[in-house]
C-alpha cells in the first residue's frame, strides 16, 4: 500500500511522517506541492509544518497548491486523507473539513504531550484504535484552537464527527476538539502529531495505531 505525503514549501514533518508510514508497514511516497497527480497513492497525509511560511493564515496559501486539485478529487471520491497539524489547517482552508483553527487561547505556542480520547473508531485513520481509547500524543502548534459556529459544532456532534477529544485542552478548542472528520468520514484532521509517537524511542507508540489504521481500511 502506498501512502503519499505532501511536501509544501515549509513542511517540516514530512520526513517524520514518511518514516512513521514505513514503520506502520506501508510504502511512503513523496508528493511535491507542484505535482499534478498523486502518483498512485492509496492514501494521503498532509504533514505538519509551516506551509508557505504560515503567511496570511496557516494553510491559506497551501490550499491552492497544484497538488491540491487532485487531492480534493481523491478526497471527494472517498480516498483516505489525513491532515496533521498544519495539514489539518490546510484541510479546513480547503473546505474539506469544517471550521477553522484560531490562535491558541493562551497566546503561546504549545509544545507538549497531551492526553486525547478516540471518540470514533469508524474512520480509516482510527479503525485500529478502540472507541474511547486514551492516547498520549505530542502537540506543537500556535494555531490549534478549533473553531466552528454553534450550528456546525452541533452537527459535528450529532453526526459523530469528532474523532479525537482532548482530556486536557491545551489551546481553547471548542468542545475540546482535537480532531474531526468529513461527512464521508474518509478525511480526518487532527492537531496532535501521531508520527511523533510512533516509536518507543520517541517516548510513545500511541500514534502508530492511527497510521496503521489506514492499512486495514483501504478501499478496494
Amino acid at each position: 500500500m502506498r501512502v503519499g505525503v505532501v511536501i509544501f514549501p515549509g513542511s517540516n514533518c514530512d520526513r517524520d511522517a514518511m518514516w512513521a508510514v514505513e514503520r506502520a508497514g506501508a510504502e511512503p511516497v513523496e508528493l511535491w506541492h507542484a505535482d499534478a497527480d498523486l502518483k498512485g497513492a492509496d492514501a494521503v497525509i498532509l504533514p505538519g509544518g509551516f506551509s508557505y511560511g504560515d503567511y496570511l493564515r496557516p494553510g491559506a496559501i497551501a490550499r491552492f497548491a497544484r497538488v491540491m486539485g487532485p487531492l480534493e478529487r481523491f478526497a471527494r471520491e472517498g480516498g483516505p486523507v489525513l491532515g496533521i497539524c498544519n495539514g489539518f489547517q490546510v484541510l479546513c482552508e480547503a473546505h474539506l473539513l469544517p471550521g477553522a483553527l484560531l490562535q491558541n487561547r493562551g497566546l503561546r505556542f504549545v509544545c507538549r504531550r497531551v492526553r486525547v480520547r478516540v471518540e470514533r473508531a469508524d474512520t480509516p485513520w482510527t479503525a485500529a484504535c478502540e472507541m474511547g481509547e486514551e492516547l498520549t500524543l505530542p502537540v506543537a502548534h500556535n494555531e490549534g484552537n478549533y473553531f466552528a459556529d454553534p450550528a456546525t459544532l452541533a452537527r459535528l456532534e450529532e453526526e459523530g464527527r469528532v474523532v479525537l477529544r482532548y482530556l486536557e485542552n491545551p489551546n481553547g478548542s471548542a468542545s475540546d476538539i482535537a480532531g474531526v472528520c468529513s461527512e464521508d468520514r474518509n478525511v480526518v484532521g487532527m492537531m496532535p502529531h501521531p508520527e511523533r509517537a510512533s516509536d518507543p524511542l520517541l517516548g510513545s507508540e500511541d500514534g502508530l495505531g492511527i497510521l496503521c489504521s489506514v492499512l486495514a481500511g483501504v478501499r478496494a
Partner: protein, 74 residues
C-alpha cells in the same frame, strides 16, 4: 490604483492578540479601553478593483472566522 483591505476577527470570535494588547494598555496608564481587536491590513496595487471582492472571499480573509472591508485609496 491602490486598494486597502482590512481583515479582522469576526465579532464574538476570541482574539487572543487583541486581548493581550487590551490588558497591556492599562499597565502603561491608558485606562478605559474596553476592547481591542487586532486585524491585518493588506495593500494591493492593481489595474482594476473588479476582482477584489473575490480575492477577499477566496484568499485574503477566511469567512469562517474573519470579516473584511476594502476601499480604493488612490
Amino acid at each position: 490604483m491602490r486598494v486597502r483591505v482590512l481583515v479582522r476577527p469576526k465579532q464574538g470570535i476570541l482574539d487572543p492578540q487583541g486581548e493581550a494588547v487590551r490588558s497591556a494598555l492599562p499597565a502603561l496608564g491608558f485606562e478605559g479601553v474596553r476592547s481591542v481587536r487586532v486585524g491585518r491590513l493588506i495593500e494591493l496595487e492593481l489595474e482594476s478593483d473588479a476582482e477584489v471582492e473575490a480575492m477577499c472571499r477566496r484568499l485574503l480573509a477566511n469567512p469562517t472566522t474573519e470579516e473584511y472591508e476594502w476601499e480604493v485609496v488612490g
